[in-house]
Symmetry: C2
Subunit: 195 residues, 2 copies
């Protein structure tokens, strides 16, 4: 257990979120108390409430932060005008971004069930926004005759499911590194929506 220390540091907020993410990913939201999170951070339980009003807010902040960071990281890239180049960029970006954040991705999928309805609606909107980035790429590809995807929304969900699945099996240090995995998946994605 971390030692108990003062909670006046400006770094306590991020440490609360890190600890909560780790514990939610390991044990599940419903099984983790605020007291347990405080122990992990090394502050008194009461001090946690300087950083978050309650456990639901903490979960919501983590999930919203994950989606907002994802959208910002994608928006930060120079856009590709060619739809195939954009699809390759999305494929490689999605695999790399998600494989580097396994806990956040796990919690983002598993704990949707524990969001209050108004929080669920916000997260759903952000997910939809991210999915629509891929849908738009597919629609552009179809429009210029470079791709064939009669149901772009379904194809987008299929591609995202495929790419996020890397987290369930990929481990660094194996025969294939992440570059190899990105290239193999890109080959599959490219062919799946080829015209």
């Amino acid at each position: 257990m971390a030692r108990t220390q003062g909670s006046h540091s400006g770094t306590t907020g991020p440490r609360v979120r890190d600890a909560a993410l780790r514990l939610f990913a390991r044990h599940g939201y419903a099984a983790v108390s605020m007291r347990r999170i405080a122990q992990e951070v090394g502050v008194q339980a009461g001090a946690l409430y300087n950083y978050t009003p309650d456990k639901q807010s903490l979960l919501f902040d983590l999930m919203r932060g994950h989606m907002e960071d994802l959208l910002a990281a994608w928006a930060d890239r120079s856009p590709e005008s060619d739809p195939m180049a954009a699809l390759e960029a999305f494929t490689r970006f999605h695999i790399r971004y998600h494989s580097q954040r396994p806990d956040a991705v796990f919690v983002a999928y598993m704990e949707l069930r524990n969001l209050a309805p108004e929080n669920f609606a916000v997260i759903e909107r952000l997910r939809r926004e991210y999915e629509e980035e891929l849908v738009a790429i597919l629609r552009r590809g179809v429009a210029v005759g470079a791709m064939e995807a009669p149901e772009p929304k379904v194809a987008a969900m299929a591609v995202i499911g495929m790419l996020t699945g890397v987290n369930t099996w990929f481990r660094a240090g194996g025969r294939l590194d992440l570059d190899d995995v990105e290239s193999i998946y890109w080959d599959l994605v490219r062919k799946a929506v080829a015209g």
Copy 2:
């Protein structure tokens, strides 16, 4: 809450498993007590132990049962000698089987973290066995020149991730029925591994 009733019935075992699956899927394994499962079934907490030695055994039985039923259902089908026909059969089978058991699929993925190491090893072996069914189809397709998949194991994980992802978005009663979804995914899978 279900009424408390006698636990002598031969149907109590399945009812214990159904209740545990429902509660684990809703709240997570770590947050659900044996007492809570007993309440849901409508038996005294002590009576549960006629059916399972402990909560870990219950989780393991659910996950092993899910994988064994899946393997048996796949083995029950008439095998397709043509690799493309076999791949189509696998695609449609996987989507339909998993979409009909959302709780079991959710628990099978989410609660791997809560399996004791020796139980985890058994479940991993069963998952590997199922994945190898698809790998074998891809290898046969490549061997006869009908498919191109330089890394059949990675391609199998990609296809399974794509297909299982249907559970995250498909809802019956929408614009597309499950037959439509199967056909759209089959088109994507077929093209992804086309020669």
